[in-house]
Symmetry: C2
Subunit: 224 residues, 2 copies
DNA sequence: GTCTATAGTCGGATAGAC
DNA sequence: GTCTATCCGACTATAGAC
């Protein structure tokens, strides 16, 4: 959301630094990453980092913005579509279907999109220990995605979107998806898998949608 | 589980280093932590770290063992109790009740035990990027806790404990709890809270147990 | 915009006195 | 077992030529 689009076709030094920064910051964390490693992987000069980004921290924040942009590109088509149709969702089936579309898309990204591998660790660290980068991530897509899920869940259980009960239920819904990412090492080990390959997508998402429906039915119509 | 018990009453240099290491490794990550910072906080000499633990990495692994021990102390009473009663759980109600006890205890630890704050970030990093410390954590309590939940969930839905469907459902159950820790920053912000204080324990755990029951009912008796 | 060279700081580990 | 002193490598940032 700055002036440049590293996702575009260009391959300037700035873009290569951003790509290398994304990979190495994601893998090693802020402190575990040296600007030398980034410059080397980008095939750029060490001094190019202070020049283009003002320093290591500036590059880190630029990487966070880049991640936010890419997640936005992936999620926003579906989010916008649901937002636009929100006023016409009068039947429970339509509301449920909209929620399913959001959950499906989110799960596809979090669990099965290989690109996510790079973003996930960085976002997790920002959740555990927020820095300025968290504001970038939260303000860009997290807020909008969360509000949308809250709104739909709230309608389905007959509560306001900002009712604590609604938000808690929306949270557990998202948690069922995210655990495949955040407890990845333990989950894969228990399943005897080495990665979440495409053949697992249908059974996992089926289970998630079934659980979402079950949890919502369990909380429907118990307005305080 | 080594030779010493830092949880005991002693306060040797070794114990103080372990406590300081737990706090700072947890807060700043392995690379973000300097042995100088640990030694200072422990009121110990820098050279005491190579002396007692062989170096920074040895201290980190000792911290992981310490965490595993403490989590074990918190969880194992309940896990053992359920394990022991496993053969006599013939009614669905008894099985469900046992699962509730595990979920409740796990949630109390993960979400509401303030001590967990220190462990959580370290464990999360090990999930995203396992090192030798992950083996220590997984082998000590994760495996046992997971097997227990798999076993109970499997019985309740009429499948084997290692059936993928069983493991997936157990995973989503754990995910509903862990999200309060792993997406902490975003969840608190959406709820307008600043921490999970004790007054929130009952409503959150009630919702979790209700969701667990609902998900299990949704998957009951659809044996392949 | 990109390079080399270097300044200045901080990291972990060790030697050796006590 | 605990200390001081120190080595040496790695880090980020900057100066200044091109």
């Amino acid at each position: 959301m700055t002036q440049s689009e590293p996702s575009g076709g260009t391959d300037s030094t700035r873009d290569r630094l951003l790509r290398a920064g994304l990979r190495i910051f994601g893998e090693c964390g802020y402190n575990g990453t040296s600007t030398r490693a980034i410059a080397t992987e980008a095939g750029a000069n060490l001094a190019a980092i202070p020049y283009h980004f003002g320093g290591k921290e500036g590059l880190y924040l630029a990487v966070a913005e880049d991640i936010a942009d890419r997640i936005g590109e992936f999620l926003l088509p579906v989010v916008s579509e649901v937002e636009a149709s929100l006023d016409t969702l009068d039947s429970r089936e339509a509301q449920r279907d909209a929620l399913h579309r959001l959950v499906r898309r989110f799960a596809q990204m979090v669990i099965f999109n290989p690109e996510t591998e790079l973003w996930a660790a960085l976002i997790q660290r920002e959740q555990a220990r927020p820095t300025a980068a968290f504001e970038i991530l939260y303000g860009s897509f997290m807020r909008r995605m969360s509000r949308m899920i809250d709104t739909l869940v709230g309608r389905l259980i007959g509560r306001a979107p900002d009712d604590p009960q609604t938000v808690l239920l929306a949270t557990t819904t998202i948690g069922q998806i995210m655990v495949f990412r955040t407890a990845r090492a333990a989950v894969l080990r228990r399943l005897g898998w080495t990665s979440y390959d495409a053949s697992k997508e249908a059974p996992i998402i089926d289970m998630l949608l079934r659980n979402v429906d079950a949890c919502i039915d369990a909380h429907e119509g118990d307005a305080s």
